[in-house]
Amino acid sequence: MKPNWFYILLSVSAAPRYGTAIQDDVRELSDGNVRLWPATLYGSLEELVEKQLLEEVPEEERPQEISGRERFYRITRMGRVALEAESSRMESLVRATRTRLALGES
């Protein structure tokens, strides 16, 4: 999975968010290492919607406290499955790396 996709899915996994909020959240999640530029962010959002990993929140279901024309996105069930699959892949990779590094030290 592309890092951008992973971070976007991770960002919306807890609650629905809109573009600017996703950008800020991704920056925070990655300790400032991942900076989603506008075209990449919105292009990726569209792509994820096409892949049915994200969906746009209908206007009537949008959070009340936000007034504006922002489009909110939330993760789908498939998106959640994909995110879990990717995180377990990363987990096993980290485990393997640590095992190999430990073998090298001993």
């Binding site: 999975m1 592309k2 996709w5 573009g19 600017t20 950008q23 530029w37 506008p38 075209a39 990449t40 962010l41 919105y42 292009g43 959002l45 569209e46 792509e47 096409e50 892949k51 049915q52 990993l53 922002e70 489009r71 498939m78 499955v81 994909a82 879990e84 699959a85 990717e86 377990s88 892949r89 096993s92």
Partner: protein
């Protein structure tokens, strides 16, 4: 000025994406510029260039995606792990992915629309290429020129020549971009709707050209 260039550059992106998210992209870009302003002029320059580069990169990616050249990174990643391959939903390989991305009922653009697309892409490409060349020229001459006025004069004098040099390249870029988009539209349009294909099929129905008919009759 920077925002106007950015707005123009957004025309390189597919119309669907631009219409839906163009305004939000501009807002986000402005926000990035505001943040950069706090750090100084150099940061503003860098941020504006990076924002434009992002649009260019995305437009190339979208063209590749439309042409079906993009490798599905998701599947690539899944192949590395049997576990994730097992867990991945079938949606990533669903028939929906194989369908054309655009509406098959979209008609081909009229010559006027085509000319407009060409003009916009040409202007964006010309501005970007000229700016890049002027930047290179300016950075080389900077050590020899003493005052800011000298630099401004040199850049002003160099601009027409640089622009003249970049015109052919900008035309080339515009034609490539617009026709790549057109190709994408034509692929996803029913063949009977395509005027070009219609002309070909009509020629086929009418048989070989008269010269060949005459030669066959001999």
């Amino acid at each position: 000025m920077t925002v106007s260039i950015y707005r123009l550059a957004l025309h390189l992106l597919p119309a669907k994406l631009r219409i839906k998210h163009g305004a939000s992209m501009e807002v986000l870009y402005l926000r990035e510029l505001d943040r950069a302003r706090e750090k100084g002029a150099a940061h503003v320059l860098m941020t504006s260039a990076l924002g434009l580069a992002d649009v260019m990169r995305r437009s190339v990616y979208e063209l590749q995606r439309a042409a079906g050249l993009t490798i599905n990174d998701f599947n690539g990643a899944s192949n590395r792990s049997h576990q994730s391959q097992h867990l991945l939903p079938s949606v990533l390989h669903s028939p929906r992915d194989k369908r054309p991305m655009t509406n098959p009922n979209i008609p081909l653009p009229t010559p006027r629309q085509l000319l407009r697309q060409l003009t916009v892409t040409f202007v964006v490409a010309l501005l970007l290429l000229t700016s890049a060349l002027l930047y290179v020229f300016g950075s080389r001459q900077l050590s020899q020129l003493k005052s800011v006025g000298d630099v401004a004069t040199a850049l002003l004098l160099a601009t027409p020549f640089t622009a003249a040099m970049t015109i052919p390249m900008a035309v080339f870029v515009a034609v490539i971009v617009v026709f790549a988009r057109l190709g994408k539209t034509e692929r996803s349009t029913p063949r009977s709707d395509s005027r070009m294909v219609f002309a070909h099929s009509r020629r086929r129905q009418c048989g070989p050209p008269p010269v060949l008919q005459y030669l066959h009759s001999l």
